[in-house]
């Protein structure tokens, strides 16, 4: 992740110099063409717009990490044959789930903070304009919500399925589908209504940067989904027949 950001920002210095005149051209682009190119309404020659391009990469990589982490941490005890060791201990199942979820939370936060620090440091290194640290903070905030959402989806799926193979394939399909749907929306804006089903579209970087806030509807939706999937995890882990 750190290497990605560094390499990317290194390129920016060259890109920005060549970019001034390009920018005027961009302004004449019709919206649909810009959408196809993935540019949105951002000026990619400014350091902020350039950085926003990276946001998609962050979403992809942290999404994979979060959904797999959430799935595996719940499903692995039975697979590793350690379930009978853990679940006969005098600890409630809900306590075990809580401990596991906290571990996920810490992992995710560390990844998020690493990305944040690397972003701030490297962006400032190459930034010639005004500082954009506050915007980066905001983007990392929405990234964290996105990560939590996928982690809870992963955990929920793991609690609902019988074995780790099924759980990971299902989680992987959810992530891939969400990504493909978001790509389809980028391509063809008439299916915009599908954005509710793909977390990749909940907090688009351009929107967050422009408005400086998160869309309340999607914030609410994210929280609802996180709560729902966490509840599913607790409920079904409590009822689960543990195979040994």
């Amino acid at each position: 992740m750190i290497i990605l950001i560094y390499a990317g920002m290194l390129k920016y210095s060259g890109f920005a110099a060549a970019g001034q005149s390009v920018n005027d051209l961009f302004k004449q682009f019709p919206a649909s063409v810009k959408a196809v190119l993935g540019l949105g309404e951002l000026d990619i020659t400014s350091v902020l717009g350039y950085y926003a391009v990276f946001y998609l990469y962050f979403l992809l990589l942290t999404g994979v990490h979060a959904v797999m982490l959430g799935t595996v941490i719940i499903a692995k005890e039975e697979h590793d044959k350690t379930a009978d060791f853990l679940f006969v201990k005098p600890v409630m199942r809900s306590k075990i789930v809580t401990a596991k979820l906290i571990a996920v939370l810490i992992n995710i936060t560390i990844l998020n903070l690493t990305t944040l620090v690397a972003s701030v440091v490297f962006v400032e290194m190459f930034n010639t304009g005004p500082p954009i640290t506050d915007k980066i903070l905001q983007l990392m905030g929405s990234l964290l919500i996105f990560q939590l959402l996928f982690a809870s989806i992963g955990a929920g799926i793991a609690a609902l399925t019988r074995n780790i193979k099924k759980a990971t394939s299902l989680s992987a399909s959810v992530l891939l589908t969400a990504f493909i749907v978001s790509a389809a929306i980028d391509l063809y804006n008439k299916i915009d209504f599908l954005k509710y089903i793909t977390p990749f579209k909940y907090f688009p970087a351009a929107e967050v940067i422009r408005t400086g806030t998160y869309a309340p509807l999607f914030l609410l939706l994210s929280l609802l989904l996180i709560t729902l999937f966490t509840a599913i995890t607790y409920y079904f882990m409590d009822k689960r027949d543990i195979t040994i």
Partner: protein, 265 residues
């Protein structure tokens, strides 16, 4: 032969799922082609006036989205992505599955050499990929053909489709190699997704930065669709790169597996 048949039997369902997903993907995306092409055709003339360096930076050098082939090339990235996940998953799991399901000591005490086992297993993966690609290429050509307006460069279409299996072979080889190098693989998909998406992100980066060195790192860049449409051929140096990487990784897999300590119960 027994090992080969058993492997095929165990992996058939999964192959059918993934193949269906690939074909569905083409179907759904091509469904959006007519309205999009109308949108884009209007701006085509504007785009064509742009200097070539600018179009390069935007990744639209030669891809003309209003043309059915250009559009197909544009969505082909996602087909490559899904196909690669499947290929890498197969590559990683085919050898390591025995250890995970504690059947390695059952298989490896049989009077067959290890290389025979690896042969049978790799052959089963290749068979799956072969079937998948035949199904995929046939159906996707049919779908794309249904959307063509006037003429269609059939050779380019086949070349684009045929690049799928070459990228898949890269990921199979990488998966095989990783599965004998990493000591204990508990679950296949987390590693698979991590690696494939890492390469995919490098490709996205490569597209926006257009750095010739970056392109060699990721197989997603080896078969550039725009270039295929323009020349009706692959870029020779990438073709060789891909081939060399696949060969080296496969040979290493055989060598390492030959003398690997396999944990028994």
């Amino acid at each position: 032969m027994n090992i080969f048949a058993q492997e095929l039997k165990m992996s058939a369902i999964s192959m059918i799922y993934w193949t269906t997903a690939l074909i569905l993907l083409v179907f759904v995306f091509m469904f959006m082609y007519p309205p999009i092409s109308k949108d884009i055709a209007v701006f085509e003339s504007i785009l064509n006036n742009f200097p070539i360096s600018l179009r390069r930076a935007l990744g639209i050098t030669t891809l003309d989205l209003s043309e059915v082939l250009g559009f197909y090339g544009f969505i082909f990235v996602y087909i490559l992505l899904i196909g690669s996940v499947y290929a890498m998953k197969s590559g990683i799991s085919v050898l390591s599955e025995e250890i995970r399901s504690k059947t390695a000591d059952f298989l490896l005490v049989k009077p067959v050499s290890r290389s025979t086992i690896v042969n049978a297993k790799i052959l089963s993966v290749l068979t799956n990929l072969g079937i998948q690609n035949i199904l995929f290429i046939t159906l996707s050509c049919l779908i794309v053909n249904a959307y063509k307006q006037d003429s269609l460069d059939a050779a380019a279409l086949v070349l684009i489709n045929a690049s799928l299996i070459q990228v898949q072979l890269f990921f199979v080889a990488l998966g095989l190699f990783l599965s004998v190098v990493i000591k204990k693989i508990k679950t296949v998909l987390p590693i698979t997704l991590g690696v494939v998406f890492a390469f995919f992100v490098i490709q996205l980066l490569n597209q926006s930065l257009d750095d010739p060195k970056l392109a060699y790192i990721t197989p997603f860049a080896y078969f550039d669709v725009g270039q295929i449409i323009q020349n009706s051929s692959y870029d020779f140096s990438f073709l060789v790169t891909n081939f060399v990487i696949i060969t080296v990784l496969t040979v290493l897999t055989y060598l390492i597996y030959q003398r690997q300590d396999i944990p028994s119960l």
